[in-house]
Symmetry: C2
Subunit: 193 residues, 2 copies
Amino acid sequence: MKFCSECGAPVAVRVPQGDHRPRHVCKACGTVHYQNPKVVVGCIAQWEDKILLCKRAIEPRRGFWTLPAGFMENGESAREGAARETLEEANARVDIGPLYSLFNLPHIGQLYLLFRARLLDLDFSAGDESTEVGLFTEAELPWSGIAFAVVTETLKLYFSDRGSAGTLLHSGDIHRETTRNPGSERHYRVLLY
Amino acid sequence: MKFCSECGAPVAVRVPQGDHRPRHVCKACGTVHYQNPKVVVGCIAQWEDKILLCKRAIEPRRGFWTLPAGFMENGESAREGAARETLEEANARVDIGPLYSLFNLPHIGQLYLLFRARLLDLDFSAGDESTEVGLFTEAELPWSGIAFAVVTETLKLYFSDRGSAGTLLHSGDIHRETTRNPGSERHYRVLLY
């Protein structure tokens, strides 16, 4: 952020009076521009013993598989957002169930909410942001080709929970590990609570 | 939003290519400025059979009582945010427990996450955004003086749950009712699922 979205003047980064953190503050009109975490909503859409994955057509992690998910929009609930993303990315209709996992990704300012869901029919196909959409059993799952740690962790929990009651929420944080070898595979630290 | 925060030129509201919704788009550099829901994090801090409430020193709903809660910040988890807000608003230290309620407020683009918590000591006092902080039993609770519907609904659930296992998450939406009499008391519709 370089300019004030209210008056167009340049902004400075400073701690406003009564605040504790540096913010973007307009040098002309004084407006404080807050930046807050974004919510990513999606679902684990199940059909018999299979779940729905999408192969990403876009960066980041193009060519890797993920659960249908995306940024929650103003004016919708988290569940509505999860259903909308599933329709957009997989042209798939789902009945959204209870919240299954809540993961904080503080290093990128994201909060992931992934819901249990029931796939309503097999008439799905790749949406604009996917190159391929498929149903996978646990054994068929492309574990080494999953796009994001939050999806891998959620799927590991999901398959180890199979057969259990099903209303338990899993919560945790995923932190990116700092590494001395920045070119190496990305490392994450997962904290469940 | 009237000006581009990247280049300072005026923005227009239009649907970007490949998108489904109107966004603020810069007329000069083309940057699309997304606006997404904000996450509010807070807690129900319990001490024996009492819970901690703060009387608001600021608008909206100045003079009304609420649970300690506020906007989640970048770089923190939801639980860390809930503990931070409790420290800021009530100078109170808490041990944050499991997520208790998740409410969508689509009409104002907010997602509320309220956690169970244990108040660690009685050395609390009003922070900058509170005029008063107190512990209340269910019978003492100022039900008609609660600031927000989301807090009233969460506290009703909380006291009706007392004695039960305690890891159940309550989820729902709170919609503002449109009313023909805009001067009248505000009306809400609550949907639990």
